[in-house]
Symmetry: C2
Subunit: 219 residues, 2 copies
DNA sequence: CCTACCGATCGGTAGG
DNA sequence: CCTACCGATCGGTAGG
């Protein structure tokens, strides 16, 4: 991908600007990874520059302030989350299959340790939940989006006749989310290697309780 | 309490040492509160000293290093957790009443905002879960203790015939814990004020599903 | 428990 | 994207 882009001589974006964008993306992907371990506050410009073999000011030129860097890091984590979990999950048909796909892909993505520190958003949520400001607001925005995606998936499953229509969709979404957070906690802090398998099993039972006979199987 | 202690002229602990201990306790209680908002890493000696109107070095004299301060802060939070939740919960008889008391007191203690940042241990857990070292180990130790307390309460309820003996006690304890963490998350990050009531209602239904007819009511 | 320090690192800027 | 800085703050120490 990178080499074919380099091979092009005529294109819309000037070479200089294109390289700047690629550098920015490389910076931000590293920033997401570092933040997943050290937090968005533990992410420092100096450390980030060193690991990228850049000068501090050279890196800083891409962002106006540390807060802008934090916000851009959150946006990058969001894009990765959408690319890796939400978009692939939409491949399954609406209803129980799509809902189950969302849960399964989410758990397996954290299990695979895409980032060194596990789930970026869980860490960021608890780091900033008591610290008012733009960073907290941005994290909350992304997490509301995610809860809406989960809630909508439940509602679609209800409309498809896979889940009992009487169930409170938002409440079920919260239960699903809580079980996943609990799995991150047990796996990462307590080194409980059965945590992810257990959370999938709990969620499966949870869904089985609200599923209609019409629902396709989910494994 | 403080004045009657001062009035005593003869006692086992010399006045100087007693004052030192009280100062240390005051420092650590403030440290728990600051950490609940800014994290155990965001807790700095300078800021802590300023809010206590002490010199940095005067405060630092109580601890050999920042890491020692962090460890002592965790121990203090643990003691508060035991005093405020576990000990009062033990007042209820073994079985479902005691288990329900643990859950109820835990949720209400975070709801009451005993600390500015909500639940100290949830924040600390996610801050250090990917950062090996003595601080992470100490947090994990306390959390294992807490999971053991919860698991034992479930087992006692099983022995008392209040909960179905076939239920996996550790698994139920993990479910209970996950729902509570999910409530902290929704309440503190998303400003969802129904989060705590909802988590109690979810947990109540969870227990109702595994309770035997012999179980006392829990509300 | 204090004053007076230390080197290192923080976020950020000037100027190229 | 760099070098060369800035003042502030970090954890920590000497000496009392």
């Amino acid at each position: 991908m990178a080499s074919s882009a380099k091979a092009l001589s005529k294109r819309a974006v000037p070479r200089r600007q294109a390289r700047g964008i690629r550098t920015r993306e490389a910076i931000l992907e590293r920033a997401v990874d570092i933040s997943s371990v050290h937090g968005l506050d533990g992410l420092t410009v100096g450390h980030l520059a060193t690991t990228l073999r850049m000068s501090k000011s050279g890196l800083f030129a891409h962002f106006g302030s540390k807060e802008e860097l934090q916000l851009a890091t959150i946006d990058t984590a969001r894009r990765i989350f959408i690319d890796r979990i939400i978009r692939p999950a939409l491949a399954a048909p609406k209803g129980m299959p799509r809902l189950w796909n969302l849960i399964r892909l989410w758990i397996s993505y954290v299990e695979k340790r895409v980032f060194s520190g596990g789930c970026f958003f869980t860490a960021a949520s608890f780091e900033f939940d008591s610290r008012p400001g733009p960073v907290r607001d941005r994290i909350a925005l992304v997490m509301r989006e995610w809860m809406d995606v989960l809630t909508r998936a439940v509602q679609e499953a209800q409309r498809a006749g896979h889940i009992n229509a009487k169930i409170d969709a938002a409440l079920l979404a919260h239960e699903i989310h809580a079980i996943a957070i609990g799995a991150h906690w047990a796996e990462q802090l307590l080194d409980d290697r059965r945590a992810y398998a257990r959370s999938l099993s709990i969620t499966r039972k949870m869904l089985a309780r609200v599923a209609t006979p019409k629902s396709p199987a989910f494994v």
